[in-house]
Amino acid sequence: MVGIVSYGFYVPKYRIKTEVIANVWGKNPEDVKKSLLIAEKTVAGIDEDSLTMAFESASSALSSVDVDRSKIKIVLFGSETHPYAVNPASTILAEFLGIEKNYLAYDTEFACKAATGALISAQGLIKSGYSDFALITGSDKGMGKTHDVLEYTAASGSVSILLGKDDLISEILDFESFSSDTPDFWRREGIRYPSHGGRFTGKPSYFYHIDGSSKSLFKKTGLSPKDFAFAVFHMPNGKFPIQVASSLGFSSAQIKDSLVVNYLGNSYTASALMGLMAVLEKAKTGDLIFLCAYGSGAGADSFVLRVTRNLEKRRKEFVKAIKDKKYINYPTYLKYMEII
């Protein structure tokens, strides 16, 4: 069985409140908060990018276990804000982590599901016997154009997962992927800010693909929403995951612990995985977790995870960690995001 051996996350210290952004643009903050269900979001500092955050989360993941780094022969880096268009971030990450050179590395891109796609590939490589371990990172310094609705949601953060075959904290029982050519959100080469299709990002995109992927996995496994202790979905805003969970038959109790978007925003590739980080703080041995990441363009990856008793050994404090925060004003936000 392949699964998660260890995990780590990184949430930048800085936060900007929704009302601070709304006031700059003359919007009613309560309207914006009600519409997006986001009170504040994380902001990476001026000296941080997707790679520095990836190093933080990956270091945390590796610090929990005594793993021979020469056995990590797979390093995959999912992001939509890779520091280079050409030049892999995965090799820089591996180098700084001290992983030996006989490894396979590549960067992946599929909007917000770049890391879960990499998880699927890596677990196959482990099953094939190519490697004992694989390090998968999802990391983003999410950028939204000023005065665009994304400015309230696009956040920063990173999650790293060490996959392996033994001593698992959570098994990956099964997965399913569902994709189509649906241009709901994109960023062309050389263009700094992403574009999106407004409400087109909803029904025919986020909801359609998550529904397709989830139902396909239910059918494949014979499981239904009531079998799960927790459900985690990609969180582009606070409303979508609640709506999609409800439409699939999950209760609010099953999803509430995963809704980190309300106070962290949407850290793109790390978004759904960050929800998983919050859930792992509470999960008990034997719990089934339903995880579904969505990537614009578009596709959704669904997973069934089963928590083992090893989680107690490597469980991380999530709620406490994110309490270490500092609020910034709008000019500072512009500076940290290198907009000015």
Binding site: K27, S195, F200, P204
Partner: protein, 383 residues
């Protein structure tokens, strides 16, 4: 006599899986099927559309319609901003006056939601004067100026305007083809965000996709064979300055007044004879001004009269307005709107309006406006 013998409309809304000509084809085939007509029996087609050339580099639509229907007859396109559909209908009716024994299709269609709001609003703003565009005035801004003046002059508040949207959303809830089918309250309207003071989101019609088509005929044999027939008593177009600054009076739409006066004269009926009307409520203020300018309500009294909700279905009023949901709730695919309005009156007069059927109506009126009042079309139908 000229008759309407059939009406078909697509659903209005965000129809992302359909292109402009998918919608056109659905409406054309729908209305032909309803009348048991073959496309070979069609003598001409009139098409109302505003934005295809601006938004999607899509012109020569007349030939595209010829390809869909596999016909080689005259096909014309009209553009008069949001009155493109109404003007297409007027031209078709005039064509019938000049040519005996003809069957004509009139279709209005618009595809708006595939583009960003900025692109679509920029496209729509092409229907304002150059100076207004340069000043940054969108149509929300232009109608907001009219609303401000009206409210101040006649001592009303934003609440008076809100009744228009509440009524039309109720009607939209009864129309399965409407973009919005949710009932709303006065509080919902007043609490919605401002678009351009004093107009808010729920004072404003949406950006929609959709296509609507009617069959017109002056072929008496064809008309007699049809199950449902209404008579076109009048269709009149009037125009005015494109700029607000060129108008003597900003709290009325002169083009509406002139078109209505001519239409009632031609139809030889009185305002009191009209039982149902579809009026151009692109913004809540526009319906109030329309009711006054069409001569249904006295000038300056619209703000008070709308609060009575006598024009709402189910309240036993003598005149029920915008049973389709109006532009506000049924949606506003601009080229289709003028045809949908006429189609709704057709449904009412032929007792096909189902849940929103107004009883005992013999005459109906459709009122379609282009821009901030640069063009107005008033059509009167009778059974």
């Amino acid at each position: 006599m000229n008759y309407i013998t059939g009406y078909y409309t697509t659903r209005f809304g965000e129809l992302w899986d359909k292109s402009l000509f998918d919608l056109v084809e659905e409406a054309l085939r729908g209305v032909l099927k309803q009348n048991n007509l073959e496309s070979s029996q069609i003598d001409a087609v009139f098409f109302g559309n505003m934005l295809a050339g601006v938004l999607e580099n899509n012109l020569h639509s007349t030939s595209k319609i010829a390809e869909i229907l596999k016909i080689n007859v005259p096909i014309f396109r009209s553009e008069a901003a949001c009155a493109s559909g109404g003007v297409a209908f007027n031209l078709a009716k005039t064509y019938l006056d000049a040519n005996p024994n003809q069957n004509i299709l009139v279709i209005g269609a618009e595809k708006m939601t595939d583009y960003s709001p900025e692109e679509t609003i920029t496209g729509l703003s092409a229907a304002a004067s150059g100076e207004e565009q340069e000043a940054g005035l969108t149509f929300s801004g232009l109608y907001a100026m009219m609303a401000n003046l009206y409210i101040e002059k006649y001592h009303y508040t934003e609440e008076n305007l809100a009744y228009v949207s509440v009524k039309n959303h109720y009607h939209g809830s009864l129309n399965e083809k409407a973009h919005f089918r949710r009932k709303i309250s006065i509080e919902n309207v007043l609490q919605s965000p401002y678009v351009a003071y004093p107009l808010k989101v729920l004072d404003s019609s949406p950006i929609s996709d959709g296509a609507s088509a009617v069959v017109l005929t002056n072929n008496q044999d064809i008309a007699k064979k049809q199950k449902h027939t209404v008579t076109i008593l009048a269709s009149e177009v009037a125009t005015d300055t494109i700029s607000l600054k060129g108008r003597k009076n900003l709290e009325e739409i002169l083009a509406t007044k002139n078109a209505a006066d001519k239409a009632f004269k031609k139809a030889k009926i009185n305002r009191e004879d009209i039982g149902v009307a579809e009026v151009h409520d692109c913004f809540s203020i526009a319906e109030i001004l329309a009711m006054e300018n069409l001569g249904f309500w006295k000038k300056g009294q619209g703000g008070e009269r709308i609060k009575e909700l006598s024009t709402m279905y189910g309240n036993n009023g003598d005149l029920i307005v915008n049973t389709s949901g109006g532009l506000k709730a049924a949606g506003h695919p601009v080229g289709a709107t003028g045809i949908k309005q006429i189609g709704e009156i057709f449904l009412q007069l032929t007792k096909q309006a189902e849940k929103r059927q107004v009883r005992n109506v013999k005459y109906g009126l459709a009122h379609n406006v282009g821009g901030s009042g640069g063009t107005a079309v008033v059509t009167i139908l009778g059974i």
